[in-house]
């Protein structure tokens, strides 16, 4: 590996990069790292001139959007860049070991023992066909720990205990664990050989806020225990504010800015950093919106009406099943549009509620009516008109498109299937108009394949696709949880515009109370299928009464290094399953805006 220092030299002169003073000698030193990808005769500079160092026990956050080079930087430190990518220059030493000078076999031994990588997407990071313990053993044995199985098991139990998991977890298979547990297992694997440097690549991006808070506090604890330096990669600048000592902002493969977390939040130097900080939705920066009018009684049938609806999964003669949603009634008015946010952790029943409203799941008890007509058991023709009136936007903009077709296909199919008698020129104009309505330039977007567009662009297309059918209700299930931070605000603005400009009502499903606060007129908080709190966002989120809601709020990583995050105590003593007394008072509640919620005894 050649070492080029000229690049790092002029970056050192960059005033935006201030050296963070530290008493200890740096455990990690990176100088002039550059990674290129060679494809189709072109060279893409994925990472250029990245230099930084990190002391023992310190934490460096690397923040940036997808494609900013943050994961590539991490993989370069692991020497795991795949062809056609290549480290073209630079130097990286960990505790005196020059990583780029090692042979492949030597580098393999350094992985986990010197540098650990805790991957993104813990959902799939464990080999599905082996027990948890085997996934530890593989790594331990290949680092020369050929001790007996029972000795290895003792150490695995110890590592699991350090991430607050019981030792019997080691006998389970990955699919038997929850997302948070899998991520803890990955952390336990990562630290079992006490590395000098831990690289955690978006370790909590697939988890809900409470689980994220728990996993981050676990990570904090184990890092302190083994005394390693840590690089935390992420796109959530709020999480960075709560977790790291120093921050490095990356964009297009270069460092935009680097400094202590306090300095960066106090006086961000790069305009891009400022944009990232400002794009985080917080409660006190609520956009001005029209106060909902006082509820007026209306004779028209409600737009959506759930009466005594509940859902139980897996009922059979052998099992009573699992109750995903306890009986509840909800009415959304038809005479004025409203945005109802459903918030809760994963497993709280919020997605079930959305699927019920879409008619994708039949309710176990109760009835669901849309504009007065039941949504289940529709004739083929009524089914089509219902589909036209009720549209969905899903979480994952990557798998919402059929990769074999150009994105236009996602527009033309519903237009054909749902009986719009238009074609050719008129249809193209309609599609182009819908793109423009969500702020996309149709000439740049249409006629391209999904993989050519960013996640944010795809998700906005999904909003446009829902919009084009002129529906009356849109169910948006976590529409922004998988897109880059800077795109979130504009997609939420699109959602808001659905109501304000096109009079479309929205059911907004999310685990993020901050965005719920920003866009909704009405919030329902679900815990284990129970409604625990409901009302206008100013009451539910601004002045919440239920401990679970407060826990959700306190778990949000605030983009302010000086504001304390929920403590571990609070998490441990937080409400488990709600007992009868803790749930929302069983009664009929009418709210301004005409939304009504009823929770039976």
């Amino acid at each position: 590996m050649t070492t080029v220092t000229s690049m790092s030299a002029d970056l050192d002169a960059d005033p935006a990069i201030d050296r963070v003073p530290s008493d200890a000698a740096p455990v990690l030193q990176v100088e002039g790292l550059a990674v290129d990808f060679f494809a189709d005769g072109r060279t893409v500079h994925a990472v250029r001139g990245v230099s930084f160092d990190l002391a023992k026990g310190r934490r460096l956050g690397v923040v940036g959007e997808s494609g900013s080079g943050k994961t590539t930087t991490a993989l370069a430190l692991m020497r795991m860049i795949k062809a056609p990518g290549r480290i073209v220059s630079g130097r990286a030493t960990v505790g005196g070991t020059d990583l780029f000078a090692l042979s492949d076999a030597e580098m393999r031994m350094e992985r986990m023992r010197t540098v650990s990588y805790i991957p993104q997407g813990a959902m799939n990071s464990l080999n599905p066909v082996y027990r948890i313990e085997e996934q530890f053993f593989d790594a331990m044995i290949d680092h020369g720990d050929g001790a007996s199985r029972s000795d290895l098991r003792l150490r695995v139990a110890e590592a699991l205990a350090s991430v607050d998991l019981p030792s019997d977890v080691m006998r389970l298979y990955p699919h038997e664990l929850s997302g948070g547990m899998k991520q803890r297992v990955c952390i336990a694997i990562g630290i079992i050989l006490s590395p000098k440097l831990i690289i955690a690549d978006e370790p909590t991006s697939a988890l809900d806020v409470i689980t994220q808070r728990q996993v981050m506090s676990t990570l904090d604890k184990v890092q302190n225990r083994i005394g390693a330096a840590m690089i935390l990669i992420g796109h959530d600048i709020g999480l960075m504010a709560q977790s790291v000592d120093e921050l490095m902002v990356m964009r297009d493969g270069v460092i935009e800015e680097r400094g202590s977390i306090d300095r960066i939040f106090a006086v961000p130097e790069a305009a891009y950093t400022k944009l990232l900080i400002d794009s985080v939705p917080v409660f006190d920066r609520k956009p001005a919106r029209a106060k909902a009018q006082a509820a007026a009684t209306s004779d028209a049938a409600p737009l959506l009406e759930l009466s005594g609806v509940s859902k139980t999964y897996g009922t059979s003669i052998f099992s009573k099943g699992k109750i995903a949603l306890h009986p509840m009634s909800l009415r959304m008015p038809s005479d004025r549009p409203s945005i109802v946010a459903i918030v809760g952790q994963s497993g709280s029943g919020k997605t079930t509620l959305g699927q019920l409203a879409l008619g994708l799941l039949p309710p176990t008890t109760g009835t669901i009516r849309f504009a007065g007509a039941p949504v289940t058991g529709l004739s083929a023709r009524d089914q089509r008109s219902f589909r036209r009136d009720v549209q969905a936007i899903f979480q994952d903009p990557y798998s919402s498109f059929n990769p074999f077709y150009k994105v236009d296909h996602a527009f033309t199919v519903p237009l054909k299937e749902l009986g719009f008698g238009i074609s050719g020129q008129a249809r193209s104009e309609l599609i182009a108009e819908a793109c423009a309505q969500v702020g996309l330039d149709p000439t740049l977007i249409l006629g391209r394949f999904p993989h050519e567009l960013s996640g944010g662009q795809r998700q906005r297309l999904m909003v446009a696709r829902a919009l084009i059918l002129k529906p009356r209700l849109i169910v948006a299930d976590e529409p922004v949880s998988m897109v880059d931070a800077s795109q979130r605000a504009s997609i939420l603005a699109n959602v808001q515009a659905l109501k304000d400009n096109y009079s479309i009502s929205v059911i907004y499903i999310t685990h993020d109370l901050a965005t719920a606060y920003q866009v909704s007129d009405f919030v329902i908080v679900l815990q284990n299928g129970h409604v625990v709190e409901a009302g206008p966002p100013e009451d539910v989120i601004g002045a919440s009464k239920h401990p679970y809601t407060r826990l959700l709020i306190n778990s949000i990583p605030w983009p302010d290094p000086n504001r304390p995050w929920a403590s571990a105590d609070e998490l441990d003593n937080g409400p488990a399953a709600p007992s009868g007394a803790e749930t929302f008072a069983p009664a009929l509640h009418s709210f301004s805006g005409g939304v009504e919620l009823e929770v039976p005894e």
Binding site: M78, M80, K82, A83, R108, M109, E110, R111, M112, R113, S116, Y117, P119, Q120, G121, M123, N124, S125, L126, N127, P128, V129, Y130, Q135, D138, A139, D142, H143, Y173, H175, C186, I189, F318
Partner: protein, 330 residues
């Protein structure tokens, strides 16, 4: 719950066998030829003399139960099948179908099953190595050759092998299961002869099938390589061989096994061409000849064995796959 699942699997198995058996009864009878007439005209040609064709055909029909209505034939057929009794061969009366199959089955199983398993093992390994990043480069360069092999039908390959190794070089016999004149016996010499005779047909199957297995495995490995657990395993510093077998192969092989179960069913049908090309005394040759004579009972017997092989191998896979893939355990 486990017991219930097994019950479900076995019921499904019985249903499949029943449905296939029923089809098996009616399909040969739709061909429209009269096997008894064919048989008797064959006797008349060879035997000569004054044969009372009417009386003889009547006797045959009665003896074989072909005189009854189709429905009662079907019922007695089901009863016989349940007792694994397929009756007499029409063409080789009074030899029973079971006797004919018992002679042929060991040859087919010995040759086809072994060849299929060898092709599966080599093909899967080879296919995986063509795309595995740490594998020697030579394997990646093999891909075009594997594609060519996968595209050649095995009977063409068989003819080619006969021409080169049997006809020109004389290394192996041209055909047959054992030397003409040798009596099947459990001796070392005879076993060696059998092996020499099985070499070329076996090789033609293995070579042709390797390509198909390898290409499928290649696709699966590409998918597995993109999985997070492979990335994490590499980050764990796991040895390359362990990474390959326990993370790559172990996961990529799962869909291959389902295909393998289906392939077992084609062993007999696949055997037809190979066995005919090589004059191999197996079930394929028997089936081929029986179709020529419209020998219903033999066809029914062979096809039943075929149905049973597919159904049993699927049943075994349904039981084995959950052991290999914990996610499938209910």
């Amino acid at each position: 719950m486990r017991f219930l699942n097994l019950f479900r699997l076995v019921s499904m198995f019985l249903l499949v066998v029943f449905a296939a058996t029923t089809l098996n009864f009616f399909l040969p009878r739709l061909i429209g030829t009269d096997p008894v007439a064919e048989r008797i005209s064959a006797i008349a040609e060879t035997g000569g003399g004054n044969v009372d064709i009417e009386a003889m055909s009547q006797a045959y029909r009665e003896r074989l139960g072909l005189g009854d209505t189709l429905w009662s034939q079907y019922l007695s057929y089901l009863g016989d099948i349940a007792r694994f009794d397929f009756g007499f061969s029409i063409a080789n009366y009074p030899v029973t179908v079971n006797e004919l199959m018992a002679q042929a089955l060991p040859w087919t199983i010995g040759l086809m099953l072994t060849a299929t398993l060898i092709a599966f093992a080599i093909g899967s390994l080879l296919g995986a190595l063509t795309v595995w990043p740490h594998a020697p480069r030579i394997f990646a360069n093999l891909t075009p050759a594997i594609m060519v092999l996968g595209a050649i039908p095995f009977y063409i390959l068989g003819l080619l092998l006969i021409d080169i190794f049997a006809f020109r070089l004389g290394w192996f016999p041209i055909g047959g299961g054992y030397p003409i004149g040798a009596r099947p016996a459990v001796t070392f010499d005879f076993a060696l002869d059998v092996l020499r005779h099985a070499m070329l047909p076996g090789l033609s199957i293995v070579l042709a099938a390797i390509g198909v297995w390898a290409l499928q495995m290649r696709g699966m490995i590409v998918t597995v390589l993109g999985e997070d657990y492979v990335t994490f395993a590499e980050a764990k510093g796991v040895r390359p061989t362990r990474l390959f077998f326990r993370y790559g192969m172990r996961n990529a092989i799962l869909p291959q096994l389902t295909t393998l179960a289906l392939t077992f069913g084609q062993i007999v049908t696949g055997a037809v061409l190979v066995e005919v090309v090589f004059g191999y005394p197996g079930l394929g040759t028997l089936l081929f000849q029986s179709i020529g004579y419209s020998d219903f009972f033999v066809i029914q017997g062979v096809v039943f064995v075929l149905v049973l092989t597919v159904a049993i191998s699927m049943l075994i896979m349904d039981i084995v796959l959950p052991i290999l893939d914990p996610r499938l355990r209910g």
